[in-house]
Structures are given as C-alpha cells and as structure tokens.
Amino acid sequence: MMKVLTFGIAKDIVGGPEMDIPYSEGMSVLALKKAVLEKYPQFEKLNSLAIAVNNEYADDNLQITPQDEVVLIPPVSGG
C-alpha cells in the first residue's frame, strides 16, 4: 500500500488527511490517478486533480517510488 496525502476538498472526499492506494513497482502518476478515481469517483466531478510528488507537480508518466511523498492536489484557491 502507498500513502497518499489529501488537502482541501480531497480531504472531505476521502474522509481524512490521507488514503491508502495499492502500490506496484514502477507505478506511474497516471496509474495512481486512475486508482484514486476508482476508489473515489467523486474526484471526477472536480475541475481538476493534480498529483504532487516530493513537493513538485508531477507529470502523468513519472514513476512513483515507495519513499516518495505523494499528495492529491484538487483545484487550488489561494490568494
């Protein structure tokens, strides 16, 4: 399992500050997104859903390692 952190509306959808997603070696950001959407279809309704890996916005094809800090980034609204 891989821990994925949540903030904002993502925290409300998941029901807490983190969620577990089944991890497989070499898993891509796109595969992780699909797993998240499968578990919580409500994310489909958001304007966007980005993934941050180690404090950077991650491309869909980036491979995630078990040590990475992975965070769901729903539409931001600072300022």
Binding site: F7, G8, K45, N47, V71, S77
Partner: protein, 141 residues
C-alpha cells in the same frame, strides 16, 4: 536573489509593515504592495468566515518559484510574499505581495503577475462559510 526574497506562510495575522520593511531598498523607485482581504460576500451570499488550508512545504516552494520567475522577468530588488492560513474573519488579510523595483511600471507588473500565478499554482485551498453551509472555492465547475 536568495536574500532578496521573503516567503512566509503563517497562522497569525499578516503584517503589511513587515513586508514593506523587508522590501525597502535604497535603489527602489517604486514599491507596490498588494493586499488580498476577505470579502463579505460571494455572488450575493453573505460570507461569515474563511478557512485557508495549505500543503505548506510545497506552497512555500511554489511561492519562491513565483518570486524567482518574476525576478527573471522584471528588475526586482526585493520581494515578499506572505500568505495566511487558518480561520479568517471578514476584512482580515489573506495575502500580501510586496515588490520593490527601480521604476513603478515593473513593480506593478511583477506584483500583478505574482498574485495571478499564486492563484493558479500554489497549493492553498479556501473554504468559504455561509449561514447555511460551506464550500471549497473553485473545486467544482
């Protein structure tokens, strides 16, 4: 440029004075200070309070990127970006962006660029509370 940029996220009230003191520079000909405040209504619905939540480590890093990018585009001498988190009442300051440049035009442009980019890229989320509920801003179409 490292010492010329001040990035902060705080759960305490933000200080305009602190930002202006930081950006003071003898070569500056113009200092532009943007203050974003909590508005009392959204589309006619009365707002009671706001909550800002941040993914702090990444938010700091993204805010620094904005200041560095702005410094490549304009001749910035000093720049401060402070963002508040936690619960805010109507009228309180949510964000301050202060920019010092040799001339005013660059300072205005850099400040405008910084707040526009912040709203697009920095992982901070705003929840508005109304009398009959609350909503995460920008989440849904």
């Amino acid at each position: 440029m490292e010492n010329c940029i001040d990035i902060q996220i705080s759960d305490k009230p933000l200080s305009e004075q602190t930002c202006l003191e930081f950006v003071a520079h003898p070569g500056a000909g113009g200092i532009v200070n943007f203050i974003g405040t909590v508005r009392n209504q959204t589309q006619g619905k009365a707002v009671i309070k706001l909550e800002f939540e941040a993914y702090i480590s990444m938010a700091i890093s993204e805010m620094r990127k904005i200041a560095e990018l702005a410094s490549q585009k304009w001749p910035i001498q000093k720049m401060a970006i402070h963002h508040r988190v936690g619960t805010l009442a109507v009228g309180e300051i949510a964000v301050i962006i202060s920019v010092a440049c040799p001339h005013r035009k660059a300072a205005f442009e850099a400040c405008s660029f910084a707040i526009d980019t912040l709203k697009e890229t920095v992982p901070i989320w705003k929840k508005e509370f109304f009398e009959n509920g609350a909503v995460w801003i920008a989440a849904h179409p």
